[in-house]
């Protein structure tokens, strides 16, 4: 981006995401900011690391507006990298570490990244794929050997973090500039990049945490990845309030419970799958006393009532907040703990500084109990989809209820979620307007699954549908017919999927049929396939 004329100084105003860290580093020098296993960093230390790396990135040619991806299993390095990218004037693109090289390649190419910062395992995992990313110039990872490939060169991250220029890099951006792109799936095709401005992220940190009663010295456990909007929100809201973020990767519920106790965690955010794991019959959550755990928050998908009951039984003194939001508008509503019993299944009411419209098919406001599309208005409505003006116009439209003279001034977010409200204005999620699915908290487009299966070249028709699952939200089921009457083995299809897609996208079951059922107009009859999958006695998997 070409620079214009900017201010002399930020005059203590926090208008960029990195200012959250800078302000804390100045006012609370010795306060703990981040825990990653044995690594403990104060705000001042993290500020120094990100200044060093930010200056180094600028020195290596990262410019204002450049996209830089991060690909990490949870680590303090990722947090330092995110702030360093912002300080160099770039936008960070946090990539879900569960993705496989084909999806990562799509993301890196789609937003034309200049650089990738990763961990040694990530470098090894993605190395061959990098050749497919034309815009890529730099790959930074600890222990990287500094080799030059065709287009990109690798740089060892360790010395860049160990010493360098510790001065705060000059602010290059405004609050309306791009800070981050989060990739997420819609109802069709490959994932799209949701563009978040500095202002969007700061607003979400403020309004999303306003009711959580943060206290200085709070300790927050971070399990969800920063590539997930709520995971990123935990980072920015913790730093807004001067709390300490404790990073956690786990395989066993016991590891989480251990960390909750050992690190005296006050707040924990999760998705339904995590709560199901934590309340599983063998989980030590049931015997544990966790006096410090003041609140937990659920997001990503609706929490099944049975899991909610189990959580309340295991954590009688912990407040439970149910949140609802989507990446495109970052944070939207929450249900306070005291309403959980009175309004089971409710997603609550809008956050402060958020307004919700429910709009029916005629484009009019819904009456009580009438189902309509949820439309979100407020400062967290994102900038739209990177490089996709048409998709952006569909989802982000002028405010239908503003006076005509104002209508062009603002965009509101049409969520695609069907919602109704009760007499007191509390909202209830009913379903999706389109075919988008949620699997283990991740949005999955059925057509993306279908496209991967078509790539085998073995199939004439493919239909992917979602099957509701208590633990996972949805699992994927596929019906397919072979090309040219050839014989197709289910295990060879699953093998192909295993190499091309993350685990949450892989079909739980594939049925091979001679022909897929059609509608009168000759299209695949999805409703009939859904009915068939829901029939009692239908097996869930191929095993």
């Amino acid at each position: 981006m070409k620079p214009g004329i900017g201010p002399i100084d930020r005059c203590s105003m926090d208008y960029l995401v990195q200012h959250l860290l800078q302000t804390r580093a100045r006012s609370d020098v010795g306060r703990e900011a981040l825990v990653d296993g044995a690594t403990r960093l104060t705000y001042a230390e993290l500020e120094r690391l990100s200044n060093r790396l930010g200056n180094a990135l600028a020195g290596m040619g990262i410019r204002r507006g450049d996209r830089v991806a991060t690909f990490f299993r949870k680590s303090a390095d990722e947090v330092a990298a995110i702030f360093a990218i912002l300080k160099a004037g770039g936008a960070f693109v946090p990539v879900n570490p569960l993705l496989l090289p084909p999806q990562v390649s799509h993301i890196l190419n789609d937003c034309r990244v200049t650089a990738v910062i990763t961990d040694p395992a990530g470098l090894e995992f993605l190395k061959e794929m990098f050749a497919s990313v034309e815009s890529l110039r730099l790959v930074l990872a600890r222990g990287a050997r500094g080799s030059s490939e065709d287009r990109w060169r690798s740089v060892d991250l360790s010395p860049l973090l160990a010493e360098g220029n510790d001065a705060v890099p000059p602010d290059l951006c405004l609050s309306i500039d791009l800070a981050c792109i989060i990739y997420t799936s819609g109802s069709t095709g490959r994932s799209k990049g949701v563009m978040l401005s500095h202002g969007n992220i700061l607003a979400s940190a403020r309004l999303g945490s306003s009711y959580l009663d943060y206290r200085l010295d709070d300790r927050i456990l971070s399990i969800l990845p920063f590539s997930f909007d709520y995971g990123l929100f935990q980072l920015t809201s913790a730093f807004l309030h001067g709390a300490c973020l404790v990073l956690c990767t786990f395989r066993f519920p016991g590891e989480i419970v251990d960390l909750l106790r050992r690190e005296r965690i006050n707040g924990l955010g999760g998705v339904p799958t995590l709560w199901s794991l934590l309340t599983e019959k063998r989980s030590p959550l049931h015997q544990g006393v966790l006096p410090h755990l003041r609140y937990i928050t659920n997001s990503g998908a609706a929490l099944p009532q049975a899991v909610l009951r189990a959580l309340r039984a295991a954590l009688p003194d912990t407040r439970i907040y149910l949140m609802y939001g989507m990446t495109e508008a970052f944070r939207t509503t929450f249900l306070p703990p005291e309403e959980i019993d009175r309004r089971p299944g409710s997603i609550g009411k809008p956050l402060p500084d958020v307004e919700i419209y429910l709009v029916n098919d005629k484009g009019e406001p819904c009456a009580e109990d009438e189902i309509g599309e949820l439309v979100h208005r407020g400062p967290t409505v994102s900038m739209g989809y990177w490089g996709q003006p048409e998709a952006t116009e569909r989802m982000f439209r002028p405010n239908p209820f503003a006076p005509p003279e104002l209508r062009h001034a603002e965009r509101v977010c049409y969520s695609g979620d069907l919602v109704k409200r009760d007499a007191d204005g509390f909202l209830y999620f009913v379903g999706r307007r389109d075919a988008q699915l949620k699997c283990s908290g991740y949005r999955v487009s059925p057509t993306e699954v279908e496209e991967v299966l078509y790539e085998t070249g073995l199939l004439r028709e493919v239909a992917a549908i979602g099957v509701p699952d208590e633990l996972l939200g949805h699992t994927i089921r596929v019906f397919a017919s072979p090309r040219d009457g050839r014989e197709v083995r289910v295990d060879e299809l699953l093998d192909f999927c295993g190499r091309r897609m993350p685990r949450y996208m892989i079909p739980r079951r594939i049925d091979i049929l001679d022909d897929l059922p059609k509608t009168g107009s000759g299209k695949i009859n999805y409703p009939l396939l859904r009915q068939r999958a829901a029939a009692p006695g239908e097996p869930r998997g191929n095993d």
């Binding site: 570490p97 395992a121 395989r251 066993f252 016991g254 794991l277 063998r282 996972l472 295993g498 095993d543």
Partner: protein, 90 residues
């Protein structure tokens, strides 16, 4: 073929069937599953249910530690030990 070899093959087949990374990296008996990220937290639960169902054992909270699940070999040891314990108790 000893009994434990049979367990090996059964567990390996399940892993290759359900875990994409296991296919991609042609996992063998002693490869680390947890550190390498082949098996994630949800995967552990699937493995636990599979082992209980297939080998008729009961896995407790104390068994749910990385050392019992980090490789196919470790899981075989757990199954053998559980089945022996059950035999002794009967």
């Amino acid at each position: 073929m000893s009994g434990a070899d049979g367990f090996d093959a059964t567990i390996l087949a399940f892993l290759r069937d359900r875990f994409p990374f296991a296919r991609q990296r042609s996992v063998t008996r002693n490869d680390s599953l947890l550190e390498s990220g082949i098996v994630d937290s949800l995967g552990v639960l699937e493995l636990v249910e599979f082992l209980e169902r297939t080998f008729g054992i009961s896995i407790t909270e104390e068994d749910l530690v990385p050392k019992n699940f980090d490789s196919v070999g470790r899981m075989v040891d757990l199954v053998v030990q559980k089945r022996a314990g059950r035999g002794a108790a009967e």
